[in-house]
C-alpha cells in the first residue's frame, strides 16, 4: 500500500498530511498553542484549498476549535505563521481578520438576543458609514447604505426561511433557527472564506438537511468553506476535502471516501489498540479469580480448626 502514490486534483504532488494544494486560500506553518503543560495545537503545515468545502474532523479534544480560534484571531498562538490569500494573519486582531473576508460562526451559537433578527443581520454588513460615531448623527450620510443592506438582509432571510421572524427578538428563535441566523449573518459581509464551527451540533435531522444544502450553496456561489464536524456521515455528504486532527496535530488528509480507511484516522477515533483482543468478558477475570482463591483458602483454614 505504501508504494502506491495517491494523487488528487486539489493537491500538488502526493496526498499526505500537510500536503501542498494547487490553489490554497489559507496556509499555516508551525502553529502551536499550549495551555499550561498541555499542547492543544501543534500544526506543522496545513493548506486549505480555495473554492471547495473542507471538513476539519477529529475526536473530542483534538484541538479543532482551538485551531479555529487561532486562525480567526480569537486566540493567540505561542508560535507560528499563517496567511490568508497570501497576506499574513498572524497577530492580526479578530475584527480585522473578519474584515479581510474570513468570517466565522461559533460552536455555541451567538445570536444577539435583545436585537431583532433584522438588526442581527444588518450588524453583519460592512462599509456602513453610520457605524462611525460622528457620521451616525447625520442620517442622510448613512441612509442609502442602510437601505441597500436592509434589502440584502431581507433576501438572505428569505433564503434561510427566517423572513417571517424579521422583527422578532433573536432570543425568541429556536436553537436551529439561531444557527441559520448566524450563518445568514456571516454572509452579509460577502466573505471569501466561511468558517463554521460545528454548524450541525444540536440540530434536528430535517434542519441538518437544509443546513447541508445552504453550505453547498455557499460553494456554488464561489466561497470557500472550512467547517468543524463530528459526524462522519455529514462530512461524507458535502465535503471535497477532509483534514483529520488528533492530539493537536494533523494526522491525515484526503478526499472523504479514502480518508476514512486511513489507519491513522481509525487510530485517532478508536484508539491505537482498538483491534487488540482485550479478552472475553464472560471468561476468566483475574480480579474475580484472585478473590475466589482467597475465599477458598480462608474456607480451608476455617475447616482445619
Amino acid at each position: 500500500m505504501s508504494d502506491t502514490v495517491l494523487t488528487h486534483p486539489l493537491v500538488e504532488g502526493e496526498v499526505r498530511p500537510g500536503c501542498k494544494k494547487v490553489d490554497p486560500i489559507v496556509v499555516a506553518d508551525g502553529v502551536t498553542r499550549t495551555f499550561g503543560g498541555l499542547t492543544a495545537v501543534d500544526v506543522e503545515h496545513v493548506e486549505i484549498p480555495r473554492g471547495s468545502i473542507t471538513a476539519l474532523i477529529g475526536p473530542n479534544g483534538a484541538g479543532k476549535t482551538t485551531f479555529f480560534n487561532l486562525l480567526t484571531g480569537f486566540d493567540k498562538p505561542n508560535s507560528g505563521q499563517w496567511s490568508f490569500e497570501g497576506h499574513s494573519l498572524a497577530r492580526v486582531p479578530a475584527y480585522r481578520v473578519a474584515r479581510r473576508g474570513m468570517v466565522r460562526t461559533f460552536q455555541l451559537t451567538k445570536s444577539l438576543g435583545r436585537l431583532s433578527v433584522l438588526q442581527n443581520m444588518l450588524l453583519g454588513a460592512t462599509k456602513q458609514p453610520g457605524e462611525n460615531i460622528f457620521t451616525a448623527l447625520v442620517r442622510p450620510l448613512w441612509r442609502k447604505r442602510e437601505e441597500s443592506i436592509t434589502e440584502k438582509a431581507e433576501e438572505l432571510l428569505e433564503r434561510f426561511k427566517l423572513d417571517a421572524k424579521r422583527d422578532d427578538y433573536a432570543a425568541s428563535l429556536s436553537g436551529g433557527q439561531r444557527k441559520l441566523l448566524e450563518m445568514a449573518r456571516a454572509l452579509m459581509s460577502d466573505p471569501v472564506l466561511v468558517m463554521l464551527d460545528e454548524p450541525m451540533a444540536g440540530v434536528n435531522p430535517a434542519l441538518t438537511q437544509s443546513l447541508l444544502g445552504h453550505i453547498k450553496q455557499l460553494k456554488a456561489e464561489g466561497m470557500s468553506v472550512l467547517f468543524v464536524e463530528h459526524d462522519m456521515h455529514m462530512v461524507r455528504h458535502i465535503s471535497d476535502w477532509v483534514i483529520v486532527m488528533a492530539e493537536g496535530k494533523v494526522v491525515a488528509e484526503g478526499p472523504p471516501d479514502t480518508v476514512m480507511s486511513d489507519p491513522a484516522v481509525i487510530d485517532a477515533y478508536l484508539g491505537a489498540h482498538h483491534d487488540t483482543d482485550l479478552g472475553d468478558m464472560t471468561g476468566t477475570n483475574p480480579v474475580v479469580e484472585a478473590r475466589e482463591t482467597a475465599a477458598a483458602h480462608a474456607a480451608e483454614r476455617e475447616g482445619d480448626r
Binding site: 480567526t72 480569537f74 486582531p93 479578530a94 475584527y95 480585522r96 473578519a98 474584515r99 468570517v103 466565522r104 460562526t105 461559533f106 451567538k110 445570536s111 444577539l112 438576543g113 435583545r114 436585537l115 438588526q119 442581527n120 444588518l122 450588524l123 453583519g124 460592512t126 456602513q128 453610520g130 457605524e131 462611525n132 460615531i133 451616525a136 448623527l137 442620517r139 448613512w142 442602510e146 427578538y169 432570543a171 425568541s172 449573518r185 456571516a186 452579509m188 459581509s189
Partner: protein, 326 residues
C-alpha cells in the same frame, strides 16, 4: 402640617438644578449600562472630576465660563481613558471594580490637606459661579408662578441645566437609532459575536465610556453651579442614587433616566418633609427629626425593592426585551 409648603417644595424639586444634574448623570450611565453593557459604578467620580475641573480653572486662572466647561469635558475624557485602557479588554466585572475604586480615589485625593491650596481640602471650593451668573441673559426680576417662582439667576441655572439634559437626550436618541447604536447594543449582547463580524469592539466600548463619562462630568458642573463643591457629596451613595434613578426609569430608554431622576428627587424631598412635618405636628412620637432623614432612605429602599420585583424593566422599559435574560 403645612401640606401646601410640603407639596410646594416637592414640586420645586421636580425641576431643580440638582435634579437636572441627576438626570444628566443617569443618561450617562444609561449609555454605559443600558446600551453598551458597561458596568460603571463610579459615576460620582466623573461628576467630581467635572465639578473640580470646572471650579479650579475659574478660581485659580480666572478662566471664562466656556473655557472652564471645556476643561471639565477634557478632564472627563482623560479620566475615561485612564479607566478604559486597562479594563475594557477584560470582562465587564473588572470595569465595575475599577470604576468604584477610582471614584473613591478621586474623592480622597481632592480632600487631602496637602492639596488644599488647589482643591480646598475637605471644605471644598466656593465662589466660582460669577462667570456663569455674568452670562445670564435674563433681566432682573421674578419669573414663574406658584412653587416655580424664581429670581433671574435661579431661572438661568435651571434653563441651562435642563437645556443640557435635553441636548444629551437628543444626542443619545440620534446615536442609538443609528448603525453606531446597533453595534453598541450588539456588544452589550455578545462581544465576541460582534468582533467576528468585523467591528472593533474595543474602540466602540471606549467611545461609549467617554460619552457617558462626559455626561457625568457635565452633570457635575450643573450640580455645583448653584452652590459650592463639597468633596463629601461624591461618595458611593451618589453613584447608587443615580443607578436607582436609571433603573426606576428604564435602562435602555431615552426618557427613562430623566423621568427616573425627577421621580426619585421629588420622592426624596417629599418623604423627608412629610416625615418632618408629621413629627413636628406630633403625629409621630417615636422618632426624632434627625432620624427622619435616615428613615426615608429605608422607605425608598423598600419601594425600590417592590419596583424591581413587580416592574423590573422600569417605567419606560420594554417588558419583552427584559424577559429574554439569557
Amino acid at each position: 402640617m403645612d401640606w401646601g409648603q410640603i407639596l410646594g417644595t416637592a414640586a420645586g424639586e421636580l425641576v431643580s438644578p440638582v435634579t437636572a444634574a441627576y438626570a444628566l448623570a443617569a443618561i450617562g450611565i444609561g449609555v454605559h449600562f443600558g446600551y453598551a453593557g458597561l458596568l460603571n459604578f463610579g459615576q460620582a467620580g466623573f461628576m467630581a472630576i467635572g465639578a473640580y475641573a470646572f471650579a479650579i480653572p475659574t478660581l485659580l486662572l480666572d478662566a471664562p465660563f466656556p473655557l472652564a466647561l471645556l476643561s471639565a469635558l477634557i478632564a472627563s475624557v482623560l479620566f475615561a481613558f485612564v479607566l478604559g485602557i486597562p479594563t475594557l479588554r477584560l470582562r465587564a466585572d473588572y470595569l465595575a471594580i475599577v470604576t468604584i475604586a477610582s471614584a473613591e480615589i478621586v474623592r480622597f485625593t481632592v480632600s487631602t490637606t496637602d492639596l488644599s491650596d488647589v482643591t480646598g481640602g475637605a471644605s471644598g471650593l466656593s465662589g466660582f459661579n460669577g462667570t456663569f451668573v455674568a452670562l445670564n441673559p435674563f433681566p432682573d426680576g421674578t419669573y414663574g408662578f406658584g412653587p416655580w417662582t424664581y429670581s433671574e439667576n435661579q431661572l438661568w441655572v435651571r434653563v441651562f441645566g435642563w437645556a443640557l439634559v435635553i441636548l444629551a437626550a437628543l444626542l443619545v436618541f440620534l446615536l442609538m437609532r443609528s448603525p453606531w447604536g446597533r453595534v453598541v447594543k450588539g456588544i452589550r449582547e455578545d462581544e465576541d459575536a460582534v468582533r467576528s463580524l468585523g467591528k472593533n469592539v474595543y474602540a466602540y466600548k471606549m467611545q461609549a465610556l467617554v460619552l457617558g463619562g462626559v455626561f457625568g462630568s457635565l452633570a457635575g458642573v450643573i450640580f455645583v453651579l448653584p452652590r459650592a463643591v463639597q468633596p463629601s457629596n461624591y461618595g458611593t451613595t451618589l453613584t447608587f442614587f443615580i443607578w436607582t434613578m436609571l433603573l426606576l426609569g428604564g435602562a435602555a430608554t431615552i426618557f427613562g433616566p430623566i423621568i427616573g431622576a425627577m421621580i426619585f428627587a421629588t420622592l426624596l424631598t417629599l418623604s423627608d418633609s412629610i416625615l418632618r412635618g408629621a413629627i413636628e405636628a406630633g403625629f409621630i412620637t417615636f422618632i426624632s427629626t434627625t432620624q427622619a432623614g435616615q428613615i426615608r432612605f429605608m422607605i425608598i429602599g423598600a419601594v425600590l425593592m417592590l419596583l424591581v420585583v413587580f416592574r423590573p424593566q422600569g417605567i419606560f422599559g420594554n417588558k419583552k426585551e427584559l424577559s429574554f435574560n439569557v
